[in-house]
């Protein structure tokens, strides 16, 4: 193990390390801690210039209550859910299939198609922006959740295919050959042999795509405009212009907007990290 395990070092080193850990963490999360502290203060504190002293009262419930009951925030959150969940399902389903095709079969153009998916996944969004917006407007899907979902599924398929194909490549190929010798139809091999083995990959991708899509801002800006379809990342800016300079509400609002992916991350950490490393770093 590198660096040298701390338990093999001197007692003094161990104590220093143990006390450095929380200190470093507080420093690392300082900007976030500041926002959390803001979100439980009463408005009057800001007028009185009491930013960092003791809060004059503890207003956790008032501030978060107002975010939930007096603003469009719940609607934005609901939109985010209705955009994110179908995208996750769609992108994972499509990429299970593309990954299977590219990972199992040998045919001309296999690698070319695979690299096209990877390359497309890296392009700047701006090169797609005008045509995709045009296409969405022409389909009558501008400012709808479906318009966003369709684009997100398409774009995420690039990344998901990369992931799925590499995962399937690493499966024992003898299993598939054995099934073929038994005369099992190809689609049955996909459904009964390969798919059950892909469960960890599906979990990892689902968690990852959920976070990516929930946090998307650019496409929300390009393809939607009102509380009817806007997800929470875009909604938060309208929320903030509604409560200009009311830092206690703005900070509570952004914490609420951030909670779902954070919760998913803490619940499914193992899958999340497996996904992030693209399966390339074992």
């Amino acid at each position: 193990m590198f660096p040298t395990p701390i338990e093999k070092r001197s007692r003094a080193a161990q104590i220093t390390y143990q006390s450095l850990l929380p200190l470093a963490l507080i420093l690392w999360l300082l900007p976030l801690i500041a926002v959390m502290l803001f979100s439980i203060r009463p408005f009057s504190d800001f007028g009185a210039g009491n930013y960092w002293g003791m809060p004059s009262s503890f207003e956790f419930f008032t501030n978060y209550g107002r975010v939930f009951f007096e603003s469009d925030m719940p609607r934005y959150l609901m939109n985010s859910v209705l955009i994110t969940v179908p995208t996750v399902v769609g992108a994972v389903a499509l990429s299970c299939m593309t990954g299977f095709a590219l990972g199992i079969y040998r045919f001309r153009g296999n690698l070319l198609i695979f690299f096209m998916f990877i390359a497309g996944n890296f392009v700047p969004f701006q090169i797609l922006m005008v045509p995709v917006r045009d296409l969405t407007v022409n389909m009558g899907l501008y400012d709808t959740k479906l318009g966003l979902v369709l684009f997100h599924i398409a774009f995420q398929t690039g990344f998901c295919t990369l992931f799925m194909r590499n995962f399937i490549r690493a499966l024992p190929y003898e299993l598939i050959e054995a099934a073929r010798v038994e005369g099992v139809a190809e689609w049955r091999i996909f459904w009964f042999v390969v798919l059950p083995l892909m469960r960890p990959a599906i979990a990892a991708l689902a968690v990852l795509v959920f976070t990516f899509i929930w946090n998307d801002y650019f496409w929300a800006l390009v393809l939607t405009q009102g509380p009817g379809a806007q997800p929470v990342t875009a909604g938060i800016t309208s929320f903030n212009s509604q409560y200009v300079a009311q830092y206690h509400l703005m900070s509570a609002g952004s914490i609420v907007a951030a909670i779902p992916p954070v919760a998913i991350f803490f619940l499914m950490q193992k899958h999340f990290i497996a996904g992030l490393t693209l399966g390339a770093v074992k």
Partner: protein, 305 residues
Amino acid sequence: MTDTSRDTATWMQRNRMTVTPILFLLPGLLFFTVYVIIPIFQSFQISLYDWDGLGAATYVGLENYRELGTDRNFEISLWNNVRWLALYLLAIPMGLFIALFLNQTVVGIRLYKSLFFFPFVLSQVVVGLVFSWFYLPREGLLNAVLQFFGLGTVNILGDPDLATYGIIAAGLWPQTAYCMILYLTGLNAVDPEQVEAGRLDGAKGWKMLWYVILPQLKPATFIAFVVTIIGALRSFDLISVMTNGGPFGSTRVLSFYMFEQALGEYGFRMGYGSAIAVVLFLIMLVFIGYFLWQMWRDERAARHG
């Protein structure tokens, strides 16, 4: 069963190794082509037109690109992209440093690792908001700390010379967390025997890191480079949230300037915007080409090795 159906069955049977992959690829490929591949070419085409997105488009040839050559804002954006690229790469050594710091087995270390990684899970919009409040001249914690140490206040996002660096610092926060997790996973897989062998040869500290550990972390470093470079060139959300390109347009980057031209409040210049997008795309293509070449080499090595 009729004859024809038996014929199709046998045809399917004979060609199943060709037909199956095509059928499985079709839906994904269709989506991807319509929404990603074709739009790239369309953008190239639109960049040759003068178009407001609604009326008729006028063909202007390379006029849009000629205009870019004299556009001061384009130049500023390009330079800011260079700053983003150069400074964003700091996330890699910083991530490695934190990963080495956290690669221990003391009680509660798992929670520490998750909490250090945590900024990456936040959306860039939230990161942008958190940092713009952190930088506030009056209410911000940064200035409160500076004053505590007897230093003057700075208005980072209000100063055209500092604002871009302030935004990049905000971007480095989640990016460092990402690189950290890549290296933590990589460090897990480092061969303990090689480390022992290195120790017996008297390698310690920096030498051990440089000659024994880093070569084994190569896959992690490669991915860290890929995601950091792509992330740097994609920076949009933070700029939009923190400064909206200001003050005086000093924080624009190509991706943001493109959006401003094509969909911003100054009118819809789709053609000109597309020309900016094409330039950004070509810059990115250099990196994408390099990444793909690397992956292709690995792929070939895996096949023949």
